[in-house]
Amino acid sequence: MTHVIEAQNLQKDLKVGFWGHKKAILHDVTFKVPQGAIVGFVGPNGAGKSTTIKLLLGAMKPTQGQISVLGQPPSSTQTKAKVGYLPEIQNLPRTLKPVELIQLHLHLSNSSHVNNTSHIDGLLEKVGMRSLKDQLLKGFSKGQQQRVGLALALCHTPDLLILDEPMSGLDPIGRKVVRDIITEQKAQGKTIFFSSHVLPDVEALCDEIILLNEGRTLSQGPINQIFGSHHSGYELTLGQADKILETMALPSGTTVQRQGPHIVVQVDSQKECLRLLQQLEPTSAIIHKVEAMKPTLEEEVIALIEQTQPREVS
């Protein structure tokens, strides 16, 4: 399998404060991004995600370790010509229009589309900003700037997209636009590497995730490989079952909750679930839904991070 990004034992120290004391931001970051995949870069605030991304872009150099992007050093112009980047904080020039900004970046990328109005219009259409193409960016909301930033990342048709928090500041429609673009880019054979705190989106989109905490890679791989496909119990959604449940002997550990017109019963095992269904069969209770309870990616990530952190002694 070809890898478009290879990071090996990355360490990064930054100088902080007036006296320029060194602070280690990355201790040991190692990962590989396979070609044509969508890879999520996940971790809590301060884990070192944005720093790693800046190393991948050549804006910073690692204190130790090796990085290659598309088989070359990240600062090489050949690499940059094939990489599209969306920064975390959108500080687009307030006194330019989206069209002018895209034209500038097409110039800087040596693109043949500089004067291709239909290409620029198409990009802005894709991110839902075509109607605002001739307005100054100073009036744009955070979400609108994020969309223009995405158009900039795509303008020179890159092979690799590096997106730093692409869903940040977006409304549900904006998030859908970004998700659709990411999926479309993957279908075109492009590789997408993005950091995000919006874990449901990561779960829905990514072929693999890289989990980072306190400047170290905790894990990398497909989500079900990292966390397994274990269930934490079963949930039954019932109707007209209040009085029936009162008369039944429920196993210990079972929880019963009212949610609107329904009663939700959670049991620990498949065996208990089947026994409960058998008990309910001859009654007038309505079984609306039975599902295996799987922890969300968010719960899994939090659990994994907590496992790796030393507990404080009180």
């Binding site: 800046k54 050549g58 910073m60 940059k80 687009l92 020039p93 330019l96 970046h105």
Partner: protein
């Protein structure tokens, strides 16, 4: 490469025009020149001299201030607010970024001096000054000072905060304007203990007096061509040195 530098420079200039900083400073300069014209009414027959003195002084200070401000706003602020990451992700070298920013300064200084020079020329004609075109050409030559200060601001701006860059650039401007005085102090031997420091300052600062043709604009003799050539060459070498240092500093700098 040239195409990318021009694209960066022109975009920077377009941003300046829209941000109104430039227009306001230019308007302030023209206002001061017109104020000088009003003063002419109060000065008995010394109008032309006053026009040249004030025109050149305002031209020098305001243009240098504009060049420094623009270099700082255009580069240092972009580094501080992380806007530069978008540029750094493009296939351009850091040298091209520096040159693009400097090109914005060049456009700003030339256009400002052109506008103010034409206003002064017109006013010189208005008050029947002798050879009024001289002030225009003197002001255009003074553009070298604006370029130099812009390059100094860029050099400081890649490695310091906006405030520090502005402070250091202002200090270099003042020392550069007074470099002849520094030379006089060194030669006089009055500060022998500080001679090493004074010598260092003298050789490090740009000799901005070389670009000042106020005497000629007031009707004096044109300096010899070798003097003008020396001034131009010194200025261009100083600018080149500043831009090379700025590029090296930007190359080495981590931009978190």
């Amino acid at each position: 490469m040239i195409r990318r530098i021009i694209a960066l420079g022109l975009t920077g200039f377009r941003q300046l025009l829209r941000s109104r900083i430039y227009i306001n400073l230019l308007a302030a300069n023209i206002f001061m020149v017109i104020a000088a014209f009003v003063l002419d009414r109060l000065s008995s027959g010394e109008g032309a001299r006053m026009l040249v003195d004030l025109g050149m002084a305002f031209g020098s200070i305001v243009t240098a201030a504009m060049a420094a401000t623009v270099a700082i706003v255009n580069l240092t602020a972009e580094i501080e607010n992380k806007q530069i990451h978008l540029l750094l992700s493009r296939p351009i070298s850091r040298f091209e970024i520096i040159m693009g920013k400097f090109f914005t300064v060049v456009l700003l200084v030339v256009i400002s001096n052109l506008v103010i020079g034409l206003v002064l020329w017109g006013m010189g004609v208005g008050i029947l000054a002798k050879e009024p075109e001289r002030i225009f050409w003197a002001l255009m030559f003074l553009s070298l000072e604006g370029f130099t200060i812009g390059a100094v601001a860029i050099m400081f701006g890649v490695g310091s905060s906006s405030t520090m860059s502005a402070t250091f650039t202002a200090l270099i401007f003042i020392l550069g304007r007074l470099s002849l005085m520094l030379k006089w102090l060194i030669d006089s031997g009055k500060f022998a203990d500080l001679s090493a420091l004074l010598n260092l300052a003298y050789y490090l600062v740009p000799h901005l007096y070389l670009f000042d043709l106020t005497d000629w604009a007031q009707g004096g003799e044109l300096p010899e061509w070798s003097y003008l050539f020396q001034g131009t060459l010194t200025g261009l070498c100083y600018i080149a040195a500043m831009l090379v240092i700025a590029t090296i500093r930007l190359e080495k700098r981590d931009i978190p």
